[in-house]
Every structure is written in structure tokens, then in C-alpha cells.
Amino acid sequence: MKGPSLAVQNEELKAFNDLARNFAKKELLGHTEEYDYPYSREVSGVIARAVEAGLFGINMPVDWGGVGFDAIALSGTVEEIGAVDAGMAAILFTHAAALEIIAAAAENDAESCRTVYGLAALPEGVPLAFQSYASPDESDLPVVTGEGKHLLTGRLPLLALGGMARYAVAAGARENGSVFSWYLIDLKSEGVTPSAPLITLGMQACRTVDVLLNNAPALLIGAEGDGGDYFRKTQLRMSVPAAAISLGIMRGCFKEALDYAGQRWQGGRNIVDWSGVRMKLSEIAIGIDVAASCLSGACSAADTASSNGSRSALAAAIHISDLACTATSEGVQLLGGNGYMKDYGQEKRMRDARQARSLLGMSGLKKMSYIDEIIKEANL
């Protein structure tokens, strides 16, 4: 499944980054506020145009019409999109994360995943819904019943894109089972009831719903009981694009703060001429440079496919999302009252950065799993 490496060094990927930048400029710039509420403007149109542009196929295997890169290759794309609208970046992220679960399963058993890929690759299979904001470890999973078939009963809270996607990739567990598995669920099938769209703190273009499952039929992805392994692989791979979204948010935040500081007049001068303002701008800029280095390092390390490399991606995601939360809060502060208003982009970035922090699970639990791996290797 591993495709060309290192997004930042690859010419093809640079082309994708350019595509993403142009797409963001053309389709998102000036419209982010319209998509930033689940009951406002429909996002299906802009998603369709993103599909048409090929932004959803980056980590889809070539055999199924995709580009065949790995999830890390998605980083540049979501960073560019995230700098304008992290909500749209979360949509790309959600679809890609679902594909990564399938890819992880296909590593061991490619044949059994053909049917899953077949459905996911169909026009109505794009985008896929996925619980992007949680890990299965922290969720009460739907219960799986049935012999020779898989019927799911329970709840899928905060299912990203659940209100518009045809298929969802979701985890479920047999009753009293200590392990879980992944399933492809047809959201139009009987026994599937989505809630009204949920209001979330940020990234609201990526609509979320709660889904109730009542003996809903599902297709097993990979081997039963191997869900934990697939998720860990996905979490480590998708940590790089998760970090990239946070970096994109920071870049957008800095640009707006700098532009504003150069124009806003306080105390008899442009505020950019006050050293206190410069210090804040400097701290955000340093955060961006640190995050970019960190992300680049994580990409390189991930390319080695060692356990240390995978951990670097997780560490980068945790650290960069933290930097983004701090930077965007300061970004609001630099604009004062204007930063708090929707006329500017800063308040949205602050909310998006906080939402991005919960991608693929609680930050506290991610930190715990990070140290667990190290302790396990140290045989302590």
C-alpha cells in the first residue's frame, strides 16, 4: 500500500498541493462562514467539486481509480485546504482515515477487501463516513450479532459525514468480546437511523450526526477481532495529516494577524509597531516553523516504517495540535474584539484548532498510548 514517499519532496505531490491551494482559493475562500454551521449552506456541492478535482483519491489504490499514495501524502493537501477552511480539510481527512482502515486490513488479506474497496470506490461511496474524532478505545462500540453475517446494534456518536455519505467505516464488537472489528455499513440500509446534524465546536463544514443502529447489516473489513491493530496503524499514519491540518490553521491565523497588525491603528501607530504585538506575532511564527520542522521530521521518520518513525507522527500530531490551539487563541487576541467576530477568520480558526485536537481520539489517551509503546519496547 505504501506509495511514493515524503509529500514535501515529491513533484507529483507538489502538483496535488497546488491543486488543493487553487481549489481552496476558488471554492472556499470567502465562503467558509457559509459552511460553518450544519443548518446553513449545503456542503454537498463543494464536496462533489472536490471529488471531481481528484482530492478524495489520493490514498485510494490505483486499481480502484485512486492515486495510490499513502496517507502521509495527504498532508500537503489538507494543510493547504486547512489554511483556508479546516472544515473541508476534515472532510478529506475523514474519507482518507476510513480508507486507511481498509488499507490496513488489505495488507494482510487483500482479496477479502476487494468487495469493500469496490463499494467505497463507487461514485456514491465517496466520501466515506468515519468517527474521525474518537478512537474505538474511548467509545461504547455497537454490539455485533449474527452467525455468518454481521448485524450491528448500538450507537455511532459523532459520525463525521454520516448525514450525507452512503457508506460508513465503523467499529463494532461481539458481546463480552475484548476485541473489536471494523465494518462497512450501508447508511441507507434498514436499521440505520441518523440524527439531525450536530452542532460542534469547530470544523463544522464536516457535518456530523449520531447514528442509531438496530440490527443493521454490515460487511466485515479484514479479519474479525483485528480492529485494534488496524486502528493503531491508521492512527499512526493519519497523525501526519492531522498535524498538517493544525499547521494549516496556524498558517491562516498568522497571515490574518499579520495583515491586521499592519493595518490597525492604536496608540498613534500601526499596532505592528508595538513590541508587544510583535512578540505575539513572533511566537506564532516560531510555532509555525517548529510545527513545519516537526511535521517534516515525522514524514521522514514515517517513511522508514520503524516503530520510532510511527511514534514520531503521533508525537507531531499531539504537539502541533497543542501549538495550534495556543496560536489561534493568541490570533484572536491580536485582533481584539474584531478577532472574536465572524467578520474575521480568527474565531473560527480557534474553534477549528480545538476540534482538530480531538482527531483520532482524546489527546490524553494519545499521550498514554505513546508512552505505553515506549515502555513496552523498554521491557519495563
Binding site: Y37, Y39, Q131, Y133, A134, D137, E138, P157, L158, L198, I199, T200, L201, G202, W265, Q266, G267, G268, R269, N270, D273, W274, S275, G276, K280, C325, S329, V332, Q333, G336, G337, G339, Y340, M341, K342, D343, E347, M350, R351, R354, Q355, R357, S358, G361, M362, S363, G364, L365, M368
Partner: protein, 506 residues
């Protein structure tokens, strides 16, 4: 370079002397013992009001404004008025019910522990009341506050807003050294019988819901520090209209309004403060203006701080409640040591915030513009004198010029410079410390709650959106840090340290 000895000596002896910062200790014998009962009464009232009014409506109100930014929570305003909350803390001498004003801080903390947006629909009114009182014009203050009380008691909520911030000048107006450079646009031109006002104000809390507006504007916009005046504008006056409502990230229940003045005539009887009123005092017009903008924040900023303590508490309670229920890997979050450490940190933040704003509250009772109300004799007399006696025998004196002159002298001339500096710095420190702790606790809560914390229907994400505004209004926390430096540190340094005046390209 290390601190020189004289600098160290200045910091420890002149500014941060231990006894100067022990307001609670001093308050034990200087403030009336009765205030403790008032605090408890305010707390009980707030809890009842929370249970019956705030809890059932706060998330729904937030959502209604998300869907329709023009939505105004009139039902809340009506209920708050029915509970008597818009007159409860207005002094009896001005027709109110005369609850001890310091108890408003604990009341606000309690309300903010549910919804700081709705809480501010009461807090913003008392900001307006405080600003009106800071004009030291007892005649106008008495007339307006009695009008407010009369309206409220007849069932019509009558709120007062503070109309100060302008599109091109926010921070500049709140700090005395910056006022001279402020790019203000709202001008009051003297005309026969009053003033003609042109300009606009933005970000005015509860503007659309208020009947009276304490308008701070300038006779000469090129000299704002020398020509500041305060006018009382009533909704409905010719030439005064409401503009747009801001689309805010949080505190959505409390509308932030644009106020537009186009040849708005304000009669002389509504002039709360102007330079003319202090010509017979030993203070310049500029000096009086700066006194006013330094005086009321010392009382109102601990109020913002109490809102911060309330939000910090709400975040702490949300996190504890969540951790007690949430199971991860078969174990409750709250049973895990790392979570207990986070919760202890959050709890300590709440206690710290409360201690800080209470310290400022005690100081306000002893050294701010409301100190007279807390003189033991005055306090006791006020407590046991029925309101009608104030109306009949005290209020008429407020119309006498010599009474107003003495009152202005008391506040503009006979105040200790040390007290002013102490209160100004303390107000700033209290405001930024408590509101920073509020935002910190919200972030900790969301970190702990993961995806669940980001859901609107759970309520935790709203806390962060709401808390962020506390770091911005009543002076950004950065400006308040500079004011603290200016008031408590800079003057102890030799040679003199310039604040708000550093060199730059311009």
C-alpha cells in the same frame, strides 16, 4: 544586568508591600459584618435563579442565536426583571433596593457557572449603572436610576448600557495615556440647550436591549482626552438608531450592538459629565475625564473576573462530571491518576480565581468610588432606612449644585493617589488573572473530554467560546497587563519608565 538595590527596594517597600495586598485582612474590621449575610443571600438567590431560569434555557438560547443572529432573549430579560434583578443592586438613595454591591460579584460568579452570556445581560446593566455613578453627577444619576427603577417595577425591563468602543478605537479609549491618540469619531457638538451627536459605537453589550445608554463621546475628536463628555441617551431619541448585531463566537445570549448617532440631540439635562462641570474644582477637564475612566473599572473589572471564576468553575464541574461517568479501557477516567491531577489543577484554578476577585471586592469596598456605601455608619443607616425616606428627604438634595460640588470634590480631589493606583492596578490584575484561568480551565476540560467535549448539546464547548470574550472586553488582557505594570511597578523604577510610549517606526 541584575536589579539594582534601589529598584528592589522600590518593589518591596513602595508598591508590593505585604500589608497593601492584604485587603481581606483589613476588610475584617473596616467593612460591615453584615456583608457576609448579603453574600450568602445573593448566592442563594443566584442558585434559585439558575435552577429556575438559566439551566432550562441557556443552551437553547445559544442555539437560537446561532440560527438567527437577530434573536434577542427578551423572555430572559423579562424573567430577570420579574425577579427584581435590575434594581436589586441600585443604591436605595437612587430608588433601588440597595443590596450591597459587593455581593453582585458572587451573584455573577454563580450565574456564570451556568451561562456567562445570560449572566452578562445582568452584568452589562450594572456596568452602565457604575459608569453613570462614576460621573459623580448626583442630579442626573438620581433622575435616570429612578426612571430605571420605576420602569422595572412596573414590569418593563429598563436596562442601561455603556456605549464607549468605536470601530477605530477600542483599547485606546480605556487607557488614560492612549486616549489622547485615540482615533475616535463620535463627536458631540454644543448647540443651544444641549449637544448634537454624530458618530457610532460598536460592540455595545446588551445595546439593543437597553433603554438608557451611557454615551462617552468627545467635543473635539482631535483632543479626546481634553474634551470627553458623558451623555445619557434614551432609546427612541431622534437621531439615535440601532445598527447591526455582531456575529460573535460566544456569549451569544448577550447581543453586541452597533449604536448610530446622526444629529442626535441630547438635552443639557442628560449631560452626566462634561469639562464645564469641574471648572470650579482644582482639577482640569482632562484630569476629571481620566479620573472617570480610571474609577469605574476598579469596580467593574472584578465583576468580569467573577464571571471568569464562574466559567472556570463550570469547566471544572463539567470535567469532573464527565470523568466520573466516562469509562476508558474498562476504568472510569476519574479513577486514573493523570486525570485526578488535571482535575485538581482545575479546582485550584477556580479557588485561585475566587480568592483573587474577592480580594479586589474587599479593596473596592474600602478604596473605590463605592467606598462611602461601605462606611459602617452609612451602611447601617442605609440598611435600616426605608426607601421612601430616601425619596422624600434625601433625593431632593441631589439636585442642589453645592451637594454635587462636594460629591465631585470627594471623588475627583479628595481621593488618595495611592488608592487610585492600587485600585486601578488591582482591577486590571484581577480581570486578566481570573479570565485567563477561565480560558485555561475550559481548554483543560475540552482536552479531557475529547470529542464529547466538542458537542454543543453537552455544553462544554460553549464554555470556551464564552470565556474567550472575557479576555477581550473591558480592556484586552494585554492592555490590562500593561496597566498593572504602569500602576504597580513602573512608578517605583528610577529613572522613570515610560508605558504606552515605546519608540516605533512612526
Amino acid at each position: 544586568m541584575a536589579f539594582t538595590k534601589p529598584v528592589l527596594s522600590g518593589l518591596s517597600h513602595r508598591s508590593l508591600g505585604f500589608l497593601d495586598t492584604q485587603n481581606s485582612l483589613e476588610a475584617q474590621h473596616r467593612l460591615p459584618a453584615r456583608i457576609k449575610k448579603d453574600f450568602n443571600d445573593a448566592l442563594k438567590l443566584a442558585r434559585k435563579f439558575n435552577d429556575e431560569v438559566l439551566h432550562p434555557m441557556h443552551l437553547e438560547t445559544d442555539r437560537k442565536v446561532m440560527e438567527d443572529n437577530d434573536y434577542l432573549p427578551l423572555d430572559f430579560i423579562q424573567k430577570a426583571n420579574d425577579w427584581g434583578l435590575y434594581t436589586l443592586w441600585i443604591p436605595k438613595m437612587y430608588g433601588g433596593r440597595g443590596m450591597n454591591m459587593l455581593s453582585l460579584y458572587t451573584f455573577m460568579e454563580e450565574l456564570a457557572s451556568v451561562c456567562v452570556g445570560l449572566a452578562n445581560l445582568i452584568g452589562a446593566h450594572y456596568l452602565g449603572v457604575s459608569v453613570l455613578c462614576s460621573s459623580c453627577n448626583m442630579k442626573v444619576t438620581n433622575r435616570i436610576l429612578r426612571d430605571v427603577c420605576r420602569e422595572c417595577e412596573s414590569g418593563n425591563p429598563c436596562l442601561i448600557s455603556l456605549a464607549w468602543t468605536e470601530p477605530g478605537a477600542g483599547t485606546d479609549q480605556v487607557e488614560a495615556p492612549l486616549l489622547a491618540k485615540a482615533k475616535v469619531r463620535t463627536q458631540a457638538e454644543k448647540v443651544p440647550g444641549g449637544y448634537k451627536v454624530n458618530g457610532s459605537k460598536v460592540f455595545i453589550s446588551a445595546g439593543h436591549l437597553s433603554t438608557w445608554h451611557m454615551l462617552i463621546c468627545y467635543e473635539d475628536i482631535r483632543k479626546p482626552d481634553e474634551t470627553m463628555i458623558m451623555l445619557a441617551v434614551r432609546t427612541g431619541m431622534k437621531g439615535f438608531t440601532f445598527g447591526h448585531k455582531e456575529h460573535k463566537m460566544g456569549q451569544k445570549a448577550c447581543v453586541a450592538s452597533e449604536l448610530i448617532f446622526e444629529d442626535c440631540f441630547v438635552p443639557d439635562e442628560n449631560v452626566c459629565h462634561s469639562g464645564d462641570q469641574v471648572t470650579d474644582l482644582n482639577i482640569s477637564a482632562k484630569g476629571a475625564a481620566l479620573k472617570i475612566i480610571g474609577m469605574f473599572p476598579a469596580v467593574t473589572q472584578p465583576g468580569v473576573a467573577s464571571l471568569g471564576a464562574g466559567v472556570a468553575r463550570a469547566a471544572c464541574e463539567a470535567a469532573i462530571g464527565y470523568a466520573a461517568k466516562k469509562r476508558v479501557g474498562g476504568m472510569r477516567l476519574i479513577d486514573q491518576e493523570w486525570v485526578q491531577l488535571v482535575l485538581a489543577e482545575m479546582y485550584a484554578n477556580v479557588m485561585t480565581a475566587r480568592a483573587v476577585y474577592m480580594e479586589a471586592a474587599y479593596a473596592a469596598g474600602m478604596r473605590s468610588m463605592i467606598r462611602l456605601l461601605f462606611d459602617k455608619v452609612m451602611f447601617t443607616l442605609t440598611l435600616y432606612t426605608p426607601e421612601w425616606m430616601f425619596t422624600l428627604f434625601v433625593a431632593p438634595f441631589f439636585t442642589l449644585e453645592f451637594v454635587n460640588r462636594i460629591y465631585r470634590k470627594l471623588n475627583f480631589e479628595w481621593t488618595s493617589a495611592d488608592d487610585e493606583r492600587h485600585m486601578s492596578g488591582l482591577g486590571s490584575m484581577t480581570k486578566f488573572s481570573c479570565t485567563d484561568l477561565a480560558v485555561k480551565n475550559c481548554a483543560l476540560a475540552l482536552d479531557l473530554m475529547g470529542a464529547d467535549g466538542t458537542r454543543h448539546d453537552i455544553g462544554a464547548e460553549k464554555l470556551l467560546r464564552d470565556a474567550k470574550l472575557l479576555q477581550i472586553y473591558e480592556g484586552t488582557n494585554e492592555v490590562n497587563r500593561l496597566n498593572l505594570f504602569s500602576q504597580h511597578i513602573a512608578h517605583t523604577i528610577t529613572p522613570e519608565v515610560r508605558v504606552f510610549e515605546e519608540g516605533g517606526r512612526s
